[in-house]
């Protein structure tokens, strides 16, 4: 058994310990961490300010280390290495022997020696304790300044914004993120960040920081050019320095500008001592990213085995979201090679900047910069990492799609060595091997190789490769909706309709196996509702519904629900508006105008839902189906009644349409809008079906979508009279309901429909399939059997018994805690919740 001591329990030290335990090597492991807590996820540190607690960030626990048999010590840094006697001594005076020593001490933030930088409101951004300190210093503060406009500085700026401070970034160099971006990319980034309200000051050298006794803020920063800036808090993010003092004192070789020198084996100048992660200097450079540190840890472990693998340096390409802005940098972004050729695409309107640097012969990608749109990152990275020969016109790689040929790099073109998932170091070859070994689905490949279980950035590429490989082997791409039914949604719809099945159990017995699950149950529940329109909470249906449908309300993050009454077309009488206010006040509900022209009341406890709805229904409201895969809202503009341009009564049409299709269950939610003229104030062209008034009637648009991937609706028919309009919509909706996949919006359905818009027109307008009458009849059945589910529910005591927190007690869930903010309630953050619960305990 080999006696290994690891100094430092950051991300890399932790990875080393975990990998060593999992390896075949028989080792006794002692771990000494300088911070008071076990390793945590430093990469996602900034999420602390978005509500993630230290526990959420933790990568491990003391108990877990104990289970692994690791002798771990925290909060007691190593002070001295005695190479002669092979021992290390901590600051509390404890001494440990080692056979092999691993330095994983990472780095610390560099604070430039500016006069006044030792003020307590001057902070750094590296550890959980630092964050606590920034938070404390920001209490009652108004303004915060980050010194340093690099990657970490911008992360820190985001944190200050989260804390509600007026945020400034002060950078010494002329541009932001100078290491990763060229001048143009950096300028676009600046523009975007300033649009978010962060003020950027470049080419500014801070000379002195003084207490600001007179002004409203605590401190004043004075710059070399004579300018000054008043602030309450300063975060220094001016670079990092390796923790190499231990190594220096022990006489190990260190770099001129710091960093513990290592070779391919991650060995220092003493062959029994390794250094890995951010404290190590390899080939004259320090890798300030976590993935190279992990590779070093693996290389160092392999040195203890019979099968050593060398560390070969690492790629420093990065893709991130900084303050919500996509930024990507690949290879050499500056084009240092004088013969290289650069291509730049910049669109100031949509604030996108892209640049690629290509070798003199135009064949290889040397570097790339992306700001505002990282959709080309994966493809470019593959070209770069694998030296793939570029297409003839490399500029097509960054031009917007409609500009020319289709450049996307197909999965088949990638070599086996191509790294697909850099978090888990999975190559295309590994994926192919997994499929060859019989892991023939995306899920199976994921669990076999761990690909795409880290940051998730490689998900799309992984799926492409799996699909491509399966197709190449003649394997069928599995289209079953889940393990219980070997059918698509469309097939199930057909089977249920033809079989006349009325319950899930009948369908399961005839066409499925097992007990069902949270995929097939709601799907079949929805199909049954589309076909027969039964009350969804009937005994035989209730277990099929997602919680939102079961409680006829949307579950919020803390387990409470939202209440959304229907306000058809967005039209509401003053009296009804008053009722909404009264109910919200009585039950203490957070009130918000939604994006769908109605009012949402949030924070209802499950046991209060029936009483709230009783009051609303008594006042003439109905359920708004905000919870269902069903018709949501039909937005309207005021139209010809009031508007001087209106040519038809859009409000009346919106009301008619909303009332006709309310309650209609569908594969995904449905939205509509009606505009009174071509000015299109109701945004009908972004809806599943949109209606725009013309002098002669109505134009119908279909398959539009906002949301994650917006799609402009297609013009379907023009100048329709009321009756024809409704007929076409009936047919269109029913055809969608019959043939779409589970959770497929009309937009995606259209994009996958063979024959596309022309085919759809033939089916709906020309009745090419001869099913128009049947579709209309089905719709009229649904329209005729409409019921307000909330009304049915509150009238049935049997149904109401479900609306309780506890079956055996009238107590409330004390873990639901609200905080007052801007005159209303909101759910407590996790931290607030912990504090409250501790107070009351």
């Amino acid at each position: 058994m080999i006696n290994v001591v690891v100094i430092g329990n950051g991300m890399v030290g932790h990875h080393y310990v975990e990998q060593l335990v999992n390896s075949e090597i028989d080792a006794k492991i002692t771990l000494i961490g300088g911070e008071p807590r076990p390793a945590y996820d430093r990469v996602h540190l900034s999420e602390f300010f978005a509500g993630r607690s230290p526990e959420d960030l933790a990568l491990t626990t003391r108990e877990h280390y104990a289970e692994l048999g690791v002798d771990a010590h925290f909060g007691d840094p190593v002070e001295r290495i005695d190479r002669d006697n092979k021992t290390v001594t901590t600051s509390c005076g404890r001494t440990f022997d080692y056979e092999k020593l691993v330095l994983a001490t990472g780095s610390y933030p560099f604070v430039p020696p500016i006069k006044g930088c030792d003020h307590q409101a001057c902070t750094v951004y590296r550890t959980i304790d630092d964050l606590g300190n920034i938070q404390a210093q920001s209490k009652n503060a108004k303004v915060g300044v980050v010194v340093g406009g690099g990657l970490l500085g911008l992360e820190a700026a985001n944190a200050l914004k989260h804390l509600g401070l007026e945020t400034h970034v002060v950078e010494f160099a002329p541009g932001l993120m100078g290491v990763q971006l060229d001048t143009g990319g950096s300028a676009m980034l600046r523009r975007k960040i300033e649009a978010l309200g962060v003020q950027v000051h470049t080419s500014k050298a801070t000379q002195i920081i003084e207490e600001n006794s007179a002004g409203e803020t605590r401190l004043e920063m004075k710059f070399a050019d004579g300018d000054s800036l008043a602030t309450d808090v300063i975060v220094f993010s001016a670079g990092i320095r390796p923790y190499d003092q231990l190594a220096r004192d022990a006489g190990l070789k260190v770099g001129e500008r710091g960093g513990i020198d290592i070779d391919y084996h991650c060995k220092t100048s003493d062959s029994d001592i390794f250094a890995i992660g951010e404290c190590a200097l390899f080939g004259g450079r320090i890798f300030g990213l976590v993935a190279p540190g992990y590779r070093m840890a693996e290389a160092a472990i392999s040195q203890l085995s019979s099968d050593p693998i060398p560390f070969q340096g690492a790629d420093m390409s990065t893709k991130l979201k900084l303050l919500g802005v996509d930024v990507g940098s690949i290879g050499d972004p500056h084009g240092k090679d004088p013969d290289s050729i650069a291509y730049t695409f910049s669109d100031e309107r949509i604030e996108v900047y892209k640049r690629i640097i290509v070798s003199a012969d135009g064949k290889k990608l040397l570097g790339a910069v992306l700001v505002g749109d990282c959709s080309d990152y994966d493809t470019l990275l593959q070209y770069f990492l694998n030296d793939i020969e570029l297409p003839k016109d490399p500029e097509t790689l960054i031009l917007p799609y409609n500009a020319g040929s289709e450049p996307a790099l197909g999965a088949a073109a990638l070599p086996a060595t191509a790294t697909i998932c850099s978090c888990h170091n999975v190559s295309k070859g590994d994926i192919v091997d997994a499929i060859d070994a019989g892991h023939c689905s995306l899920a199976a490949v994921k669990s076999e190789t761990a690909a795409s279980t880290g940051c998730g950035g490689c998900t799309a590429l992984l799926k492409n490769i799996v699909d491509d490989e399966m197709a190449a082997r003649g394997l069928e791409v599995n289209t079953s909706i889940c393990e219980h039914f070997a059918h698509t949604r469309q097939e199930l719809f057909h089977l249920i309709k033809v079989g006349g099945f009325k319950t899930f159990d009948e369908v399961l017995e005839k066409h499925g196996s097992g007990r069902g699950c949270d995929i097939c149950k709601p799907t079949i529940g929805s199909i049954l509702a589309s076909l027969w329109n039964d009350y969804v909470l009937k005994d035989q249906h209730v277990g099929l519904q997602d919680t939102n449908d079961t409680f006829l309300a949307n579950m919020q993050k803390n387990g409470t629900y939202s209440v959304v009454p229907r306000i058809a077309g967005g039209e509401i009488t003053p009296d009804k508006l008053i009722v909404l206010g009264q109910v919200a006040k009585k039950y203490n509900l957070y009130t918000k105008i939604t994006g769908g022209q109605r009012v949402d009341l949030f924070g209802a406890r499950v046991q209060h839902l029936p009483a709230i709805w009783k009051e609303l229904i008594d006042a003439g409201f109905e359920t708004g189906h905000a919870y269902g895969k069903a018709l949501r809202t039909v937005k309207s503009c005021v139209g010809s009644t009031w508007c001087r341009y209106g040519v038809q009564d859009s409000v009346a049409m919106a009301l008619y349409v909303e009332n006709r299709y309310k309650g209609l269950r569908s594969p995904h939610k449905l939205k509509s809008a009606v505009s009174g003229c071509t000015r299109e104030c109701a945004e009908a062209q972004s809806k599943d079906f949109g209606i725009i008034a013309t002098e002669n009637g109505w134009n119908l648009f279909v398959c539009g979508n906002g949301g994650m991937k917006p799609r402009h609706a297609d013009l379907f028919a023009t100048d329709l009279d009321d009756e024809t309009l409704i007929k076409y919509i009936d047919r269109f909706l029913m055809f969608y309901i019959r043939t779409a996949d589970r959770l497929q919006r009309t937009s995606v359905w259209m994009d996958n429909l063979e024959g596309g818009l022309e085919y759809l027109k033939r089916v709906v307008i020309e009745d090419s399939l001869g099913i128009a009458a049947e579709l209309e009849q089905q719709m009229s059945h649904i329209v005729g059997t409409y019921q307000c589910e909330w009304k049915t529910t509150i009238e049935d005591p049997e149904r109401l018994k479900r609306f309780k927190q506890f079956v055996n007690s009238d107590q409330e869930d004390e873990q639901i805690v609200f905080i007052e903010e801007r005159g209303q309630l909101r759910p407590a953050t996790e931290q607030e919740l912990q504090t409250k619960l501790q107070e009351s305990a």
Binding site: M555, K557, R802
Partner: protein, 112 residues
């Protein structure tokens, strides 16, 4: 559980919802109870707190099976929890407390 030898009655069978869940409170803990009339046993009990979604909601999830394991899907972020062992299928590091319950005549009781 502590040294309670007396079984605690949680509710009546008629309070349960077939093929779905409800929540009971016992000794200060929220217990999600699932009733699968066709299975043996018929009643399953796990903690109601979803450690991933961080709210008391598991009794309101959909029950079903995955690779023959009887599971509930969290209504918040859809992870599946094994009703027998409490283990989270997607993340084996997360395990929920499970409680021993029995049907005693017309009542559901917490044994153990």
């Amino acid at each position: 559980m502590t040294d309670h030898k007396q079984p605690t009655v949680l509710c009546k069978i008629s309070d349960l919802i077939p093929n779905s869940g409800i929540c009971a409170k016992a000794q200060g803990t929220q217990i999600a109870l699932f009733y699968l009339p066709e299975e043996t046993p018929q009643v399953y009990a796990i903690g109601n707190w979803d450690p991933i979604g961080k709210a008391n909601v598991l009794s309101r999830g959909i029950v079903g099976d995955i690779n023959q394991r009887v599971v509930v899907a969290s209504p918040l972020y859809k992870q599946h929890f094994d009703l027998v062992t409490g283990e989270c299928i997607e993340d084996s590091e997360v395990t929920l407390p499970v409680f021993a319950v029995e049907i005693n005549e017309d009542s559901v009781v917490l044994t153990d």
